[in-house]
């Protein structure tokens, strides 16, 4: 991490600026991203309505496709790479994922246990 500060200012680039390729290469990157994103979206819609696959696998397939979609966006549009001056972005992404995991996972867990000290409704009825 500390290497970054010793680089000349010209090398400390904002996300998206790091590829000094020609315009054509960059446009190609966006086109590939767009095609992949469209493909994943179309597949999701197709899977959701189809009866060609085993039905219980559909939710799992949709989750996998959604995660793949996020990956495509991160790589092709937000330019997250494993390059040396991307440390901050990767760390920020990791922190973001951790927080989302904690908040969403924690919420699901808490909300599923909210009635732990309450007898089910029919038991209350039966006692009366």
């Amino acid at each position: 991490m500390s290497d970054q500060t010793h680089m000349p200012a010209g090398h400390d680039l904002a996300p998206g600026d790091e590829e000094q390729h020609s315009v054509g290469t960059r446009i190609l990157g966006y086109v590939v991203g767009l095609v992949l994103a469209l493909l994943l979206t179309a597949t999701s819609f197709f899977i959701a309505g189809t009866d060609l696959v085993w039905q219980p696998s559909i939710p799992v397939a949709l989750i996998v496709l959604a995660i793949a979609q996020m990956g495509v966006h991160l790589v092709f549009f937000l330019h997250i790479t494993t390059g040396p001056d991307n440390t901050n972005n990767v760390l920020a992404l990791a922190f973001g994922l951790l927080v989302v995991f904690l908040v969403v996972g924690g919420t699901v867990w808490i909300m599923a246990h909210l009635n732990a000290n309450m007898p089910p409704m029919d038991q209350i009825m039966m006692r009366q």
Partner: protein, 666 residues
């Protein structure tokens, strides 16, 4: 045409808010007239209101926080008097007014005192400590400040037009739902927090980017002053947590405005989801406030002990550990609301674990002081006072983290005493320490020590006289937010607490007097060296107040405590070596974007509260147009010529050289 707004919105039958509102209005008008008549308006507009200088914005944040502290403090005085007199009687505040006061007190103190105070100090100091010329996004910084001011304005407007929420500072449904709160109070609450929340979020993004991307040469992560680390941690939490608040309030507003059922009891809604989400923001919020205060104490303790901070790396680790663990404890705010023993146990243990990095910090400060040459100047008094107070608050916190104990103490005055213990003893003491410590840097003269010390002692003692009785009343079973009560045993403690409030008020008055006295004696208190405390970090390496560009040359950092090493080892060379050629400096132009944007946001917020739809569209379009105008600007920087930089810098160097020769002669 005017939605729900008509003359019945003005509380003509309630003398207290009306008179208070009138006094404030007259005071504001008097100040405005004085400004216009004296011809200060152009100066204010060009140098402050449209300023994108991080130091000026920091000062304005702190000014906003100080004014709001007086408002929130007035609410506190009214509540303590009410509870002192309302034994087997109605007291002097009717219930609906009392409920508004405790709701406004909490909202104002957290969102418009503590937040702007710490963000203001971070704005003022962090770029200087990093050795850079500005924050990453100067105009965005100004937008963030003015949106925060919009939120504060809307909350205070509710005093005279309409009403404020009666729901407590977090507006729990179903009480805050449309069926139990049909008035505009909750709307005032929610819209002012939504608008100021945007301001806080952009401030957070700005400061994270500044710390990560703008550091001077050689300032790698492990050479940053502790305050920069806590700023980084605190602002990471802002960026991660504030969207949760925004989303939660947006859902509440959808319930109230468009008949959604997120948090209602019917149509599949669940009120518990609100508690869950609001505290998933609310607990990190506590650390957003207290981490910068920890940073301030680290700077102050190390400077006034004349020693490097003990255990710097463990301090960094503790800060980042708190940053992550603060997202794993939020259920301890609702242990009693039905979750089973396994859930409660896990969150209870996590809450106790977070006390460990905090304890590491306390020991580090103590070991920093150990063997040091301690100077008990006012900032140091606040820091030592903090250690004593905060340990008590922290220990009662660990007690509350034990679920069975929490079942006894939940919603009692014990809880009220606990969180005031950590927020006053942690955040407010930290803010005051930072205020006293960096005031000379911001304005070029010190604050009067005698009044400052008096202010500290009255506040410190007043704090204990006010809040220890509340702990005891909580143990005796008194619940919070009581407008009146019939239990004789609580009465004496409420009277003691009210007396303590009077002592606290004397402390606040001492600090106001300190400011006035110091401004009058500013020539005698002038700091010509830029380094009044024998400081250790880079903010003391430039003049007080710093020039607009902060540093003529960006400093070259070779280790921790950058300025201390410059002074100790390379003092002569660094100050007297042949300077390289001065160069032109480009600085961002001032911009009214922030102010204009907040102006339209205020109109939009007010119109949303009162359902004046055409005005909502007007305000929204105005704010958007302001953004478009800014986005299509042609040039946003101006150049300070090298000669001017040289002239300013040489004056500063002369002062420093004379200081060194004096020190050499002595």
């Amino acid at each position: 045409m005017l939605g729900k707004l008509d003359w019945s919105a003005i509380p003509f039958d309630q003398p207290i808010p009306l008179i208070a509102g009138a006094v404030v209005l007259i005071a504001i008008l008097a100040v405005l007239i004085w400004v216009v008549v004296k011809g200060h308006l152009p100066y204010l507009w060009h140098e402050w209101i449209t300023s994108v200088d991080h130091k000026r914005i920091g000062v304005m944040y702190i000014l906003l926080a100080s004014v709001m502290l007086l408002r929130g403090g007035s609410d506190a005085i009214m509540m303590r008097i009410q509870q002192a007199v309302a034994y087997q009687s109605q007291g002097y505040l009717p219930p609906e007014h009392y409920n508004q006061i405790f709701s406004a007190h909490g909202t104002i103190m957290i969102f418009f005192v503590a937040m702007p105070f710490v963000i203001g100090l971070m704005n003022l100091v962090v770029p200087l400590q990093l050795g850079v010329r500005d924050v990453a996004f100067p105009t965005l910084n100004s937008v963030g400040f003015w949106l925060t001011a919009t939120g504060a304005l809307l909350v205070n407007l509710s005093l005279v037009i309409g009403e404020f929420a009666r729901t407590g500072w977090l507006a729990f449904p179903p009480l805050s739902g449309l069926s139990y709160s049909p008035g505009v109070g909750v709307d005032y609450y929610a819209w002012s927090l939504q608008i100021s929340g945007v301001g806080t979020l952009v401030a957070g993004i700005n400061l994270v980017t500044t710390v990560l991307k703008l550091r001077t040469k050689g300032m790698n992560y492990l050479r940053m002053p502790m305050f920069c680390w806590t700023t980084l941690a605190s602002n990471l939490l802002i960026v991660a947590a504030f969207p949760i608040l925004t989303a939660t309030l947006a859902m509440l507003l959808l319930d109230r405005y468009l008949g959604f059922h997120f948090f209602t009891n019917e149509a599949g809604g669940n009120v518990m989801m609100f508690m869950n989400l609001i505290w998933a923001w609310g607990h990190p919020e506590v650390y957003i406030l207290v981490l910068p205060a920890f940073g301030i104490f680290s700077e102050v303790v190390s400077t006034f002990s004349g020693k490097a901070l003990f255990g710097y790396r463990s301090m960094v680790l503790a800060t980042m550990a708190i940053c992550v663990v603060s997202f794993m404890v939020w259920l301890h705010h609702f242990f009693t609301m039905g979750a089973g023993p396994d859930v409660n146990a896990i969150f209870g243990i996590a809450s106790m674990i977070i006390a460990i990095p905090t304890g590491v910090k306390i020991y580090n400060w103590l070991f920093t002081m150990y063997g040091g040459r301690i100077r008990f100047a006012t900032p140091m008094l606040w820091s030592v006072g903090f250690m004593v107070t905060f340990i008590i608050g922290g220990l009662t916190g660990v007690l509350l983290a034990v679920p069975p104990a929490d079942f006894m103490l939940h919603n009692s005055m014990f809880l009220v005493a606990h969180f005031h213990n950590v927020i006053i003893g942690g955040v407010l003491f930290g803010a005051f320490a930072g205020f006293e410590y960096w005031f000379p840097k911001a304005f070029g003269f010190r604050l009067d020590e005698r009044w400052g010390k008096a202010g500290f002692w009255f506040t410190f003692l007043g704090f204990f006289i006010t809040f220890i009785p509340l702990y005891i009343a909580g143990m005796l079973g008194m619940t919070r937010r009581m407008q009146h009560y019939d239990v004789a045993a609580w009465r004496p403690w409420m009277i003691v607490a009210a007396a303590g409030m009077a002592v606290l008020t004397i402390g606040v008055i001492c600090q106001i007097v300190q400011l006035v006295v110091s401004i009058r004696n500013r020539e005698a208190l002038r700091d010509r060296t830029g380094d009044p405390w024998d400081g250790r970090s880079l903010e003391w390496a430039t003049s007080s107040p710093p020039p607009v560009f902060n540093f003529a040359f960006n400093p070259d950092v070779r280790g921790e405590d950058a300025y201390w090493h410059m002074k100790a080892h390379a003092q002569q060379q660094s100050l007297e070596r042949d300077r390289p050629e001065y160069q032109d400096i480009e600085m961002p132009r001032n911009s009214p974007t922030g102010f204009v944007c907040a102006f339209f946001a205020t109109i939009m917020g007010f119109a949303l509260i009162w359902h004046i739809w055409w005005m909502v569209i007007l305000g929204g379009l105005g704010a958007w147009a302001t953004f478009v105008v800014f986005a299509w600007r042609d040039h946003d920087e101006y150049v300070i010529p090298a000669e001017e930089v040289a002239a300013i810098d040489r004056v500063n160097l002369e002062e420093r050289r004379s200081l060194i020769s004096m020190a050499g002669a002595a």
